[in-house]
Subunit: 336 residues, 2 copies
């Protein structure tokens, strides 16, 4: 059986099972581990609190095309996608390590620009790049690990959604996928809307302070929207053992998205991916507090329901429940 | 200017300089950082002690060939090379994260074997694999990050060698490079010597407990031998601002290496690479204590000398000082 047959999430399932079956190591690391594979970041306890770590990589040809991305944007994004995983747990990022593979005939100035982008976002979020390695390869791969901690004794998880919770998101979705479509066009697309969408794709802004605010408001369940709104809500449903309903007419559409993609705006908002917004679930009164506290838009788009299918049901504009096929990004199963 | 023109270490120099020039982030991460880029692992202080993190990757075509390496061995080695960096600081490894890129048409069983190898060495050293990600790519890349801590308030560093220190190594060098040469031959090489050498290449055993013992004996300077004995001693010389002398007739040659590579045994021992032994420098009385305490061979091979060339001088069997050309591994400058 090939990896492409079971897909990214099937493979992760296989790996998680193998690790779960493996003998627990005798040291203290196993005992202190609170969250292992399966959430946005790993979490363990120390004598003074909780620590978090996450790793994610950008691969040439899979995640980026050097024709449509500058090296400085690439550096920014490689760090941003990892910060977003820390944000999804409500964590405070501290240190980053960079594992780089690149061809020997690459210009050194490009590598310098890549680091410029990484350092810019590192400074923006107060983290230090403390280590890494570079090695030769035919293609560029940027694997980043971020280590952080969390205030208090809890983090946001995918497993804590319960029936009755509202489902809410920060900001808007679909912008990044829309921006990528514009970037892929042969002729550069001008105008403010295009600018907003392309920027969303090239320079995502992780919701670090928002994640911490969710934790302070006693939100329990969250995920960052990297695979697509419906796909990431599905991950929450599977991890929490619940169903969910999204009301299409509650999903916020950014004016730039509506301006540039009239017909496909909703489709992009539901399944675009790479948004790096936060999706969270909480009782109505907590969602209300969060809305009042955060400066970014917070929109309720549906609710968590009792159910064992662990699926997301979409109620369209006319009130019909739409069956959802594949609605997110799987690296080994490119979208149709 | 291309990366291959300045090489791996030239590029790391560029990156380190860029990060050094970058504004220090305002958060606590910068203030608590003790060792950043340039040593085997990053080190920072917390309220309860020191934490360490390191990352290293194995890339198909650069570090391994699936014709000569099994998936289970590959998993073992990918973790081992990172553990070795923790060993070089005298640290205690705790948690591992795995960032994997692989082609979609790869058999799932191979990935399972890869994880089997990783889990085997993880259990051997009491660490937990707590997170990671998988993504599609044309080539297999395994980037691993290990996070650990250290007893007390100090770690072993590359920067602490001083004139008058003896230079010593654990175990034997050159075995791994010799093993790789045998594995590359068309016909499998039989016999005990071949077995020892190939095993050294495929299943390196990081010196974790030895690194911790060095720290307890008050050794200050160490590095793991990954690029080659002379090359790694050169890294220590550069970082510490000293020269060093190796006496060729003091360099231990493993019987298997002598048996299989009569003529080239010394060359392989001096510059083979991927040994994952520890090289350390310390005053004679401390080296003596270490020799008595450790169960593995510990051999003095030379000494640290005053000098500003930051070079390693090799005294050959007839007492002549040999000038050393390239004597180690640089990913962007394949050896001649």
């Amino acid at each position: 059986m090939k990896v492409s047959e079971i897909g990214e999430f099937g493979l992760i399932g296989h790996i998680t099972e193998a690790i779960g079956k493996a003998e627990n190591p005798p040291g203290v690391s196993g005992e202190n581990l609170l969250i292992g594979i399966g959430d946005d970041a790993a979490v363990w306890s120390t004598a003074i609190g909780l620590e978090l770590a996450t790793t994610d990589s950008l691969v040439q040809g899979t995640h980026f095309d050097l024709k449509t991305t500058s090296w400085i944007d690439l550096g920014w994004k490689a760090v941003a996608v990892n910060l977003s995983d820390i944000a999804a747990m409500g964590g405070i990022p501290r240190y980053a390590l960079v594992s780089l593979t690149l061809p020997g005939d690459l210009d050194v100035d490009f590598v310098a620009s890549l680091y410029k982008g990484m350092l810019r976002i590192a400074n923006e979020f107060g983290i230090s790049i403390v280590g890494g390695n570079v090695t030769a390869s035919r293609i560029v791969t940027i694997a980043i690990t971020i280590i952080g901690d969390a205030d208090g004794k809890a983090v946001l998880t995918r497993t804590a959604a319960v029936p009755g919770d509202l489902v809410a998101i920060t900001g808007y979705t679909g912008l990044s996928a829309a921006g990528l479509r514009l970037l892929k066009r042969r002729r550069p697309v001008e105008g403010d809307a295009a600018q907003v969408l392309q920027q969303a794709h090239l320079r995502p802004m992780p919701r670090i302070s928002e994640g911490q605010a969710l934790l302070h408001h006693n939100v329990k369940a969250a995920i960052d929207i990297s695979d697509g709104l419906v796909a990431d809500l599905s991950h929450v449903c599977k991890a929490s053992g619940v169903d969910a309903r999204i009301n299409e007419n509650m999903v916020p559409l950014h004016p730039a998205l509506k301006a540039a993609f009239k017909k496909n705006a909703m489709k992009l908002a539901l399944s675009g991916g790479e948004d790096y917004e936060l999706l969270f679930t909480a009782p109505p009164q907590i969602v209300e507090q969060v809305k009042q506290d955060l400066t970014c838009p917070v929109t309720v788009i549906g609710e968590i329901t009792r159910g064992k299918s662990c699926r997301v049901h979409l109620v369209d504009a006319s009130g019909d429940i739409v069956s959802l096929q594949q609605t997110g990004w799987d690296h080994f199963r490119p979208q149709v």
